[in-house]
Symmetry: C2
Subunit: 210 residues, 2 copies
C-alpha cells in the first residue's frame, strides 16, 4: 500500500473545523503525552519526530516506537500496558493533533472539510501503523543481531529500490529500534563489512550479496 495522504496538506482546513480537535506544538525534549489508562486519547503527528519511550525500574530507557509525519499514536492503542511508565517525547519541533478516539467517529456537526478528509483517510493511517508494527515484530523475532540488521537492510533496500541506501536515523537509535546493545551491533556491522556482506560508509549501506 502506498500512502497517498499527507495530513500536512489539510491541516489548514483545521481553522474552520469544529472544536473537538486540539492542535498543539511541542519543542525538542518536551513530553507530548503520557499513557495512562482509559483516556482513549488518539493523536496524529502532523510534522516532526517523536519517540514512545519506556523507563524501567532501573531507569533504563527503551524506544518502543518512533513516530514521524502522519503517524498515529496514543493510549487508545495501548489499553493494557505492561507497566505504565510510557511517554511520548518530541525529538524535534512537533505539531500534533489530539482527539478523543470516539470523537472521530461521531459525525462533525459543522460537516467541515477537515473532518471529512480525515475520516476518509483514517483507515489508511491506521493500516500504515499496523504495517509498521508488523515489520517491527518481524525484525524483533529474529534471533541474532546479524539477522536483525540484514532484515532491516533488506527492508530499506526494498523500499528504496536500491542496493545502496542511508540509515534514516542514528546508529544509536537503530540499536534501540532493533532492541540490541549498541556496541554489540557496531561489532556485528564491522563483521558484516569484513565478511563482504555489506559495504558501509557512515550511515550509508550497500548490500553486496545476491
Amino acid at each position: 500500500m502506498v500512502t497517498s495522504f499527507n495530513i500536512n496538506e489539510f491541516v489548514d482546513d483545521f481553522k474552520n473545523c469544529c472544536n473537538k480537535v486540539q492542535k498543539k506544538s511541542f519543542n525538542r525534549d518536551e513530553t507530548i503525552t503520557s499513557y495512562i489508562r482509559n483516556r482513549n486519547q488518539f493523536c496524529i503527528l502532523v510534522c516532526g519526530n517523536a519517540d514512545l519511550v519506556r523507563y524501567d525500574l532501573n531507569g533504563n530507557k527503551t524506544i518502543i516506537e518512533h513516530f514521524t509525519n502522519n503517524d498515529v499514536f496514543g493510549e487508545v492503542f495501548y489499553s493494557i500496558t505492561i507497566n505504565n511508565e510510557l511517554f511520548v517525547e518530541a525529538k524535534s519541533k512537533c505539531d500534533v493533533l489530539i482527539y478523543n478516539y470516539y470523537d472521530i467517529h461521531t459525525k462533525c456537526t459543522k460537516n467541515c472539510k477537515f473532518h471529512q478528509t480525515l475520516s476518509e483517510y483514517l483507515p489508511e493511517l491506521i493500516l500504515n501503523k499496523i504495517t509498521d508494527l508488523n515489520t517491527r515484530v518481524e525484525l524483533l523475532t529474529k534471533r541474532t543481531i546479524r539477522d536483525k540488521l540484514l532484515g532491516y537492510f533488506n527492508l530499506l533496500s526494498t523500499k528504496t529500490f536500491n542496493k545502496t541506501f542511508k540509515i534514516p536515523f542514528s546508529l544509536t537509535d537503530l540499536a534501540d529500534y532493533l532492541s540490541v546493545d549498541r556496541s554489540a551491533m557496531m561489532r556485528e556491522l564491522k563483521l558484516l563489512k569484513d565478511e563482504n556482506f555489506i559495504d558501509k560508509n557512515g550511515k550509508e549501506i550497500t548490500l553486496l550479496y545476491k
Copy 2:
C-alpha cells in the same frame, strides 16, 4: 478497552448478505492463506486457532502472530514484507471470513444486517489488533528471557485480576511468542521458581513478589 463484540453471534446473518464476503472452513494444519504482495486480502477469524508463520532460508519456523476468535489478519496489514514466505496455518478447525479490504468500506448494496454490524465494530477489532501488536513489541524489546517472562506474567495477572493464572498455550508456543529458545526459557522458569519469584505447577503460575 473491553471487547463487547463477538463476530460469532452475527455470523448467521451472513446467509442473507451480499456475496462480497467469503466464508471458508479449514481443518488443522491446512493453510488458510499466504501473504503475497498487493492482494489487499482482509480476514476475520470467526472461530478456531491459527498462526502466522515464517519459514526462513534454513527452514526454521517462527510463529510471528497467533490468532484466536475475532482476530483480524491478512496481507493488507503486511504490504511490505521483509521476506514473502509467510503463511497462515490453522492450528484447529477454523471458520474464516475473507474480504478484499476495500470492499468493507464500500457500502453493501443489500444494506444487510451483517455488513452493518461489521462496519460498526470493525474499528474495535482493528484497535484490538494494534493493542496486541503493541503488547508483543513491548515484550520483545525486553532484553533478557527473565524480563520477557515477568512482563508476560504481569500482563496475564493484570488481565485476570489474579496472582495465579494459567498460561493459555503450550510452553513451546510461549517460547515462540517471546522469540527465545525453549530450553533456555525452561531453565529461566526453573531459576525464577528456585529464587521464589514465582510458583509453578505445569502451566499454572503464581506471582510471589510485591
